[in-house]
């Protein structure tokens, strides 16, 4: 039984990093495909498209920081807490990354026709980033209570 609990603890430590990496990969790929499509139809502003498609890469950074914060000796007493915080923050980061990628793709698609809305079109992606930051910060706060 103890082995299972300890395994869950280790899973919780690595989950934010793994799920954050998956989120960034999927999100950047979605936004990247949109930027490639937009480049075939526009005459300039390619750097902006590529820059926007890199937005979801922040999720893996948050995941790495959470992983280091959770990283400690896993005991039967703290394994449950590590598992809960790690898995749930990882899932939150994953959803944020994927949907931020979609929001960035929509922004790129809209911006190719109307460059003047570039800043405003990024607002949904920025709001999603805010939710990712919530998941990140409160994972750090809560993890301080785990022995």
């Amino acid at each position: 039984m103890n082995e299972l609990v300890l395994t869950l603890g280790w899973l919780g430590i690595y989950a934010p990093m793994a799920l954050g990496a998956a989120a960034s990969a999927i999100g950047c790929s979605i936004a990247g495909m949109a930027s490639i499509g937009a480049m075939t139809e526009t005459e300039g502003g390619y750097g902006r498209f590529v820059g926007v498609s890199a937005f979801p890469s922040t999720m893996v950074i948050y995941g790495i920081v959470i992983m280091f914060t959770l990283n400690r000796d896993v005991t039967p007493e703290n394994a449950g807490g590590l598992f809960g915080i790690g898995i749930l923050s990882g899932i939150a980061l994953m959803y944020c990354g994927i949907w931020q990628g979609r929001a960035c793709a929509a922004a790129i698609n809209a911006t190719k026709e109307k460059p003047e809305i570039f800043g405003l079109s990024l607002a949904p992606a920025a709001i999603i980033e805010g939710f990712g930051v919530f998941a990140f910060v409160f994972a750090l706060v809560i993890s301080a209570g785990i022995s």
């Binding site: 949109a34 499509g37 139809e41 979609r102 793709a105 190719k112 026709e113």
Partner: protein
């Protein structure tokens, strides 16, 4: 439901549609559009072909009967699995059925049986044949204007109204589909509306050119080769 991210690069590579009736040409040529559509999977490409084939007037013979056209639309409907595309197809059939009924009544005709056309109103329209708007003002608020244009014998105005209504219907569905197959299909159907409008303008221009040319050439017979009037 299609994969929501299936055609991100394809949709992003399509130029945005300008405002209908303001644009002189579709936003890109059919050749370029077809080149972009090679990114579709074989199954999606087949569904799009079926949809376009059933909706494009150019693919119908001039002497096609109502029964043949309806059968072709029913066959197409069986081949379209996406609920959104089925819905917009049926909406277009409703529009065409109603416009055809208005034209038939204007010519003094009446439906040969208890049903007319295809869609939701096949029984409703014959049952309300004498009502100016077939009692469809609620679901089809444009019908009053369509009847006025038909009575005023303004076919171009009526064409413009029907294309505008079709365009609005497509835009309504497009808002719920960003990068999936439905988004691509809706874009192609909007492109077809632009193309049809551009063609109708071109046909109008040719007619006007012929009229002006005939006017200009009318006096030519009266001028001899030396420049002296006959």
């Amino acid at each position: 439901m299609s994969d929501p991210d299936a055609y991100i690069a394809l949709v992003s590579s399509l130029p945005g549609s300008e405002r209908l009736f303001v644009a002189k040409q579709p936003p890109l040529s059919r050749l370029r559009l077809d080149r972009r559509l090679t990114a579709l999977t074989p199954e999606d490409a087949r569904v799009l072909r079926v949809l376009e084939h059933a909706l494009n007037w150019g693919d119908y013979d001039m002497d096609v009967t109502d029964a043949q056209a309806i059968e072709r639309c029913k066959e197409a409907l069986r081949d379209i699995p996406q609920p959104t595309l089925r819905k917009l197809f049926l909406e277009r059939m409703d529009l065409r059925t109603t416009a055809a009924a208005l034209r038939l009544r204007k010519q003094g005709g009446s439906p040969s049986s208890g049903t007319f056309g295809m869609g939701r109103w096949t029984r409703h329209i014959p049952a309300n044949w004498t009502d100016p708007s077939f009692r469809l003002e609620g679901p089809m608020p444009w019908i009053k204007e369509a009847k006025q244009l038909l009575d005023a014998e303004d076919p171009l105005g009526l064409e413009r109204l029907l294309l505008s209504v079709s365009h609005k219907q497509l835009k309504k569905h497009a808002a719920r589909h960003l990068f999936d197959f439905e988004a691509v299909a809706i874009y192609v159907l909007i492109w077809n509306i632009f193309d049809r409008w551009a063609q109708s303008n071109a046909q109008d221009a040719v007619k006007r050119f012929e009229h002006l040319a005939q006017q200009a050439m009318a006096g030519v017979a009266e001028i001899d080769i030396d420049g002296a009037s006959a």
